[in-house]
Amino acid sequence: MTPATLDNRRTGPTLPTATPSGLSTPADTLAIPFAEAIGQPGTFPFTRGIHPGMYRDRLWTMRQFAGFGTPRQTNERFHFLLSKGQTGLSTAFDLPTLMGLDSDDPRSCGEVGQLGVAVDTIDDMQRLFEGIPLEEVSVSMTINAPAAILMAFFLAAARESGCDWTRLRGTIQNDILKEFHAQNEIVFPPEPSVRLVVDLIEFCTTQVPQWNTVSISGYHIREAGSTALQELAFTLADGRHYVEETLRRGCAIDTFAPRLSFFFNAHNNLFEEIAKYRAARRLWAEMMRDEFGARDPASWKLRFHAQTAGCTLQDRQPEVNLVRVAYQALAAVLGGCQSLHTNSMDETLALPSEHAVTLALRTQQVLAHETGVAEAVDPVGGSFLVESLTSAMHDQARQYFRQIEDRGGMLAAIDSGFFRREIAEAAYAEQRLFEHGERVIVGVNRFEEPEEPPIELLRIDPAVESEQVESLRRIKRDRSGADVERALDRVRQAARSPNENVFPALLEAATARATVGEIMDALADEFTRYALDRE
């Protein structure tokens, strides 16, 4: 039997603490200054957790990502999940919406409602959250390039339903930098894209004070094939850039920093993942307090959502995915996440069926209520291995920060292709390990089954597209074209002046029933569209 090796060479750089025998000793942690680098949970630098009591006081939020078809269908799934014990909502939008296109756009053909819910107007947003008390249930929306528009739809819809914005809790992903690194849901060039991110941060900081304005994400970077270290370093670097830009806007750090949140991957290598989360907290705390001079401890605390690694799911013996997800969820919880999504076993080939997503939720519930891990705070803290890995990842992430600086900062580094190259090389190295049999994937290159019974997969009814297109047609017919035109002109005007926040104009457009595509086009008139022009 091949012992699992903790040597990180297989997924990236070799960590200094890795020993050939796989055994860590006190010698590995001697040099780590305890108070400065580790401390206690709830105290700077929060390596051990952002609260003294962690899950003893409050469990992580069980927040399953969901969305498909029409807003009505997703609304049904939302109610279903809440009935099964989910404690927060998380919205997946379809590709046209993610790319800022309407359901009736020719480029959307075949893709409406397939990978998420189709949202074209404020009316769709209302239908999406029908019957859900927004002042009580926190809502997350996974959207990036058109995030400001969807946020405006959400706020305008909430207002129309009589909700008080100051009582709304939730998160919008709104992290465009990682799109340039990895996921490619890009519409505008980097500078105006970042401007939109900051507009949202600025607006919501004062108007929707309980809202997490960004979910600075490493998940997608990891899914694109990066190492754990790259995930850590690039995400924190992205965070730094947003802070710098928001400060340049004139906002005071302690007003907005407490509402910046993070989103990490929960991957296979248990201890490396735990170390990654702990290093992330330490790096952020140091950055906020020491680099940016934040005074409010709330600004120093890195809060994160985690999702188990989609890229590790397999279509052979899919029930084995249940097991993978359970271990990955364990890593996230031992690592102190505030919110968690567990993947469903059938997600390699389709969106989750009700049965599969229920099991995914149950995975979290067993973890929370039966294993006892929630009773202890940072239970692996003090482990020679975990502390030495945490410290090493912290230091190596800083080396990456320097490399980015050497390249002229975030935007210059993006322009040079630095992040994409790093990620592509790591992905390729990983693939080679798999091809040579050095990376074992159970059921795929070892322990295979000759015959496998098919499992039930969710089918998205193709009629969804025509239903949504018809609904959109009716909205366009019934709204005031003049109001929409006026609102879109306001959007263009706001976009044109770099010192104006586009939100008021977006809210007006939302209320006039302008569509996502129309508003994106108006913005594109000023920002131009990004041409992806490198390998």
């Binding site: 075949g110 397939q114 990978l115 996921q183 490619n184 693939q431 798999f434």
Partner: protein
């Protein structure tokens, strides 16, 4: 101008070695809105390492642009990466576009998320392999090498223009393989050739894209984009095409990616013959983008009518290039990213260097143009030079007059 009809050329089957091995060519592309490209990039590298010439088409490709790529690149295979659940819409559209371009016979393979129940439908549209998650790249490479693409049955019904283009495309492949079994049709037209050279990061491809975007109406231009071939595997990852994505599909543009063996000094040695093939097909101008390793660009001086050197400020380019003697062969120097500090100074230094070092009588001044993509400045002057000024025959430096290859 109607393309010349040459003797029809059989598709090279199977690829045989004629002094130089001919690797299989595959276009890899993503069609649709999905931008997840980890898989396709890994497959691209893996196939390169397995000895393929991989033409990476990038994201958000339209079916028609993909079809043009398959035609112009004379690809044996088309690999589509589809993870967005829209494969039953996309594959038929791609298959139809391929037929429009006369490439209905290309082998289509699909990677990504394809449920078992949909495979049969895809096969009906010509898909010959579906590679789901967890398939090793080695297995993909072997599967592709094992299957021999079909003969060109479909082009018989295609319009003459479509057939002519395919034939020209295949002729280029034959030339690249070292075979020239084609019969010259005697009209002797030879495409004028401008070589674009510069260090790898200088942005030659983006420059080409902008140059072509506003070109004079009716100009039919061919682009030969050279990238290095691995001396070990013979494979190559040819990614220059991506920068042209917004220009295509366009039947007045012909873009071909060429893998250039190491030691060829950055440009395909068969350029002369390719110019004839392209000229006879009605492409009056050929832009050759060299690998740009900056060494021994004597080859390009011999093979092209004009040489354009592309530099960037703040990279120390000019000093290196001066040392390599490259500036001596330039007919035009373009400074990219002229919005960066140091651009004016670089332009002045280079202007001095290229014009003082020519002591021959009849020396024509070598212009130095500054362009900025972010400000969209300087491209009109560049276009004027490329499409007008450069077309006059120059003095004795013109290789056509004393071509070393004839």
């Amino acid at each position: 101008m109607a393309p010349a009809t040459a003797v029809p050329l059989e598709k090279h089957l199977p690829r045989t070695s004629t002094g130089r091995s001919v690797p299989p060519r595959i276009v890899l592309a993503k069609v649709g809105l999905d931008g997840h490209d980890r898989g396709i990039r890994v497959v691209a590298r893996g196939l390169r390492d397995a000895g393929f010439h991989v033409i990476y088409g990038g994201l958000w490709q339209r079916p028609e642009a993909v079809a043009q790529a398959v035609c112009d690149e004379d690809a044996d295979w088309l690999g589509l990466s589809l993870l967005n659940g829209a494969h039953l819409t996309i594959v038929p559209r791609v298959a139809a576009a391929l037929r429009d371009w006369g490439c209905g016979d290309v082998g289509i393979v699909v990677g990504g998320i394809i449920p078992e129940r949909d495979v049969a439908a895809l096969e009906e549209h010509g898909v010959r392999g579906v590679f789901g998650p967890g398939t090793s790249v080695t297995a993909i490479a072997e599967a592709l090498k094992a299957q021999v693409p079909l003969a060109d049955l479909s082009t018989d019904e295609a319009p003459a223009e479509v057939r002519a283009r395919i034939e020209m495309s295949r002729r280029l492949s034959a030339i690249a393989a070292g075979d020239s079994p084609w019969a010259a049709n005697g009209n002797g037209r030879r495409s004028r050739c401008i070589a674009i050279t510069g260090s790898p990061g200088a942005g030659k491809s983006s420059l080409l894209c902008r140059l072509l975007k506003g070109r004079p109406a009716g100009k039919r231009v061919a682009v030969l984009a050279c990238d290095p071939e691995s001396p070990i595997t013979g494979g190559a990852l040819l990614g220059d095409r991506i920068r042209m994505a917004e220009l295509l599909p366009d039947r007045d543009l012909f873009v071909r990616s060429l893998a250039v063996p190491s030691g060829s000094q950055g440009v395909t040695p068969e350029l002369g013959e390719m110019r004839t093939a392209l000229g006879e097909a009605g492409f009056d101008l050929t832009l050759v983008e060299t690998v740009g390793i900056g060494q021994g660009d004597v080859a390009v001086r011999r093979l092209a009518n004009k040489v354009v050197v592309v530099l960037q400020p703040e990279t120390g380019d000019s000093v290196q290039w001066e040392k390599a003697g490259l500036l001596e062969v330039a007919d035009l120097v373009v400074i990219q990213k002229s919005d960066l500090p140091g651009s004016d100074r670089l332009a002045a230094e280079v202007h001095e260097a290229v014009n003082l070092s020519r002591h021959r009588p009849g020396h024509r001044e070598v212009p130095v143009l500054q362009v900025s993509a972010s400000r969209n400045e300087g491209f009109d002057a560049l276009r004027d030079w490329v499409f007008e000024t450069s077309m006059d025959s120059g003095p004795a430096s013109e290789p056509d007059e004393h071509s070393l290859e004839e």
